[in-house]
């Protein structure tokens, strides 16, 4: 049974204004868009017009950055209200946030910081998700993040932490394939061997992207074409799990739109091959 009952959206693209004109000129090449909700909080009229324009031409899902769903101090009510307003405006089939914390002591740390893999953290996340649900009825899915430093005192591995968190919250999973690959590479574990430990039955959406390597450390920088290693993992995940949508993320060094469209087409081909998309 699927984690949430929603339509299948196909192969999409993380929307960035830089390629807006090309996107509209080639919109048959993108099945849906993912907008970053934070770009439309306190937005001027022009940005809201842009959002309405996108909504009238593409299926949309929203992606949040700064909710700090794992924050022990609770959620920022004003931020939650603003996010709710954006989501109400576009009425997506689901929306997503990162399973991390971005605020501590009332200060935004400007980073998607990895959570301690403990039961206490799971309880905190479950409490925060309930709070979100009381404000936003659209199904929330949670995304695995890259881990720069593993917080000491962990009681379990990431796969188990994610599985138990999704179980406790009832949320679907936004699987960032690049993040899975980055963490596995940087922390030296065998993703292939542990593949079945991940909560594939809760998978809703996929993110994929290219990154770079610095001093032997992989960074999920969204500034390069998706690597072969990530594509291989992507193909395996799509074959394994009933994904409803896959989204290419590209934030820096954005190439000509043709290159983005080719990656989106590559992702779609796998979805089609495994009967996940028409």
């Amino acid at each position: 049974m699927a984690a949430i009952e929603t339509p299948t959206l196909g192969s999409g693209l993380g929307y960035r204004p830089q390629f807006r004109a090309d996107l509209f000129a080639h919109r048959e090449e993108v099945d849906f868009l993912e907008i970053v909700a934070d770009h439309y909080l306190d937005a001027p009229r022009e940005k809201l017009d842009e959002l309405d324009l996108l909504k009238s031409h593409f299926p949309l899902v929203a992606h949040g950055l700064d909710l700090s769903i794992g924050g022990a101090e609770g959620l920022d009510t004003r931020y939650l209200d603003k996010t709710a307003a954006v989501i109400e405006r576009i009425d997506p089939p689901w929306w997503s946030e990162h399973l991390c914390f971005t605020r501590a002591g009332g200060v935004s740390i400007g980073h998607l910081a990895s959570l301690p893999y403990t039961q206490e953290t799971i309880d905190v996340v479950a409490r925060n998700v309930e709070r979100v649900r009381s404000r936003i009825r659209t199904p929330l899915i949670l995304e695995n993040v890259t881990c720069v430093v593993r917080v000491p005192g962990g009681e379990m591995e990431e796969a188990e932490f994610l599985s138990r968190t999704l179980e406790a919250t009832g949320c679907g999973w936004l699987c960032d394939v690049a993040n899975l690959h980055v963490n596995a590479t940087n922390f030296g574990y065998d993703l292939e061997a542990e593949f079945e430990r991940w909560p594939w039955d809760r998978l809703v959406q996929i993110h994929y992207a290219g990154g770079r390597e610095r001093n032997g450390w992989l960074i999920d920088s969204h500034d390069a074409a998706t690597s072969e290693a990530v594509w291989t993992l992507y193909d395996r995940i799509v074959a394994r799990a009933p994904v409803k949508g896959a989204v290419l993320e590209r934030d820096e060094q954005i190439p000509p739109f043709r290159a983005l469209a080719e990656e989106v087409a590559r992702a779609r081909a796998t979805l089609v091959e495994h009967g996940r998309w028409r």
């Binding site: 830089q18 004109a21 000129a25 031409h57």
Partner: protein, 305 residues
């Protein structure tokens, strides 16, 4: 008429009442014209993936915008050039058979006489023939509710006539009553009545001067928002070496129809913006005739330049 107590009000109090009537007439005129165009009850059509330059130009600014766009395109392709004192002149390059369509050929014929830019807008014969050729396009846009419905023109006439009758009638009634009492100074009332009628006509013109309906405006606005980034790219290419210098050729020509020549200011092609800006200003007389029929016949003066 002496039975109307309102007409026996002292001057300042009557003027207050008169001002209130004028405000109500103007508000009524606005509402009548506004609600004569209900095309925005439907959302605008999807933004086209390959916008048609003529369609966009016609919707944006009627025949004048079509003329601007065609002249720019012919200049890009080397068939015409802008000369001193805003003259549009043919070059030595001759089109091959089938190279130009009928509308382009019509414009090329029109510039054989080396007219000034504004003269193209004022050439009634040219406008008439262009409108004939653009009739299918106009019909398509009208069917989609993108150009102002005829009801707007009908209601504009009604509010102009009705509003004038109310304003002038009330003023004349007061003048009649006051004259019957003896000599009096009614100059301010006469001035106020004249100014109010002028404002009424200006309001009616402002509300109907554009060619696009409310749905059409929303459609154009969506196109501007969707393709605005491409305009910046195209302007940046102007003057660069190689084929990219012709930044608005081919599929990008619709940007000229959509945004006009204003974006060319500050580029090596600013001459178009200057010549046709002067042309638009000189075309004020043209506006007086064509704008009167702008609602539905595509004769609107462009705007946007």
């Amino acid at each position: 008429m002496k039975n109307f107590a309102i007409l026996d009000l002292p001057g300042p109090e009557f003027l207050n009442f008169f001002g209130l009537v004028v405000i109500l007439v103007l508000a009524g005129a606005y509402l009548c014209i506004r609600f004569a165009d209900r095309t925005d009850r439907r959302p605008p059509p999807p933004v086209p993936q390959n916008p048609d330059a003529m369609e966009v130009a016609f919707l944006q600014g009627g025949v004048n915008q079509v003329i601007r766009t065609l002249i720019y395109d012919l200049a890009q392709r080397g068939f015409v050039a802008l000369a001193a004192e805003d003259h549009v002149v043919p070059t030595e390059k001759q089109p091959q058979t089938g190279e130009l369509n009928a509308t382009e050929t019509l414009l090329l014929e029109a510039v054989q006489a080396k007219p000034k830019a504004h003269a193209l807008f004022e050439d009634r014969a040219l406008r008439g023939r262009l409108l004939e050729q653009l009739a299918p396009l106009r019909a398509k846009l009208a069917a989609e509710g993108l150009i102002k419905p005829k009801s707007v023109k009908i209601w504009r006439r009604r509010v102009q006539i009705g509003g004038t009758l109310v304003i002038v009638g009330l003023a004349l009634a007061k003048i009649f009553v006051e004259w019957a009492k003896g000599p009096t100074n009614l100059a301010y009332l006469i001035f106020l009545a004249g100014a109010s009628v002028a404002v009424l006509f200006a309001l009616a013109y402002a509300l109907t001067r554009t060619h696009a309906s409310r749905r059409g405006h929303a459609y154009l606005e969506a196109m501007r928002l969707a393709y605005g980034g491409r305009l910046k790219e195209a302007v940046a290419h102007i003057g660069s070496p190689g084929p990219e210098a012709r930044a608005f050729q081919g599929a990008a020509l619709f940007l000229i129809g959509l945004f006009g020549f204003s974006p060319l200011k500050g580029t090596t092609e600013a001459i178009f913006a200057e010549a046709f800006s002067r042309g638009s200003q000189s075309g004020g007389a043209d506006c007086g005739t064509s704008c009167g029929g702008s609602c539905g016949d595509g004769g609107a003066s462009g705007g946007g330049d």
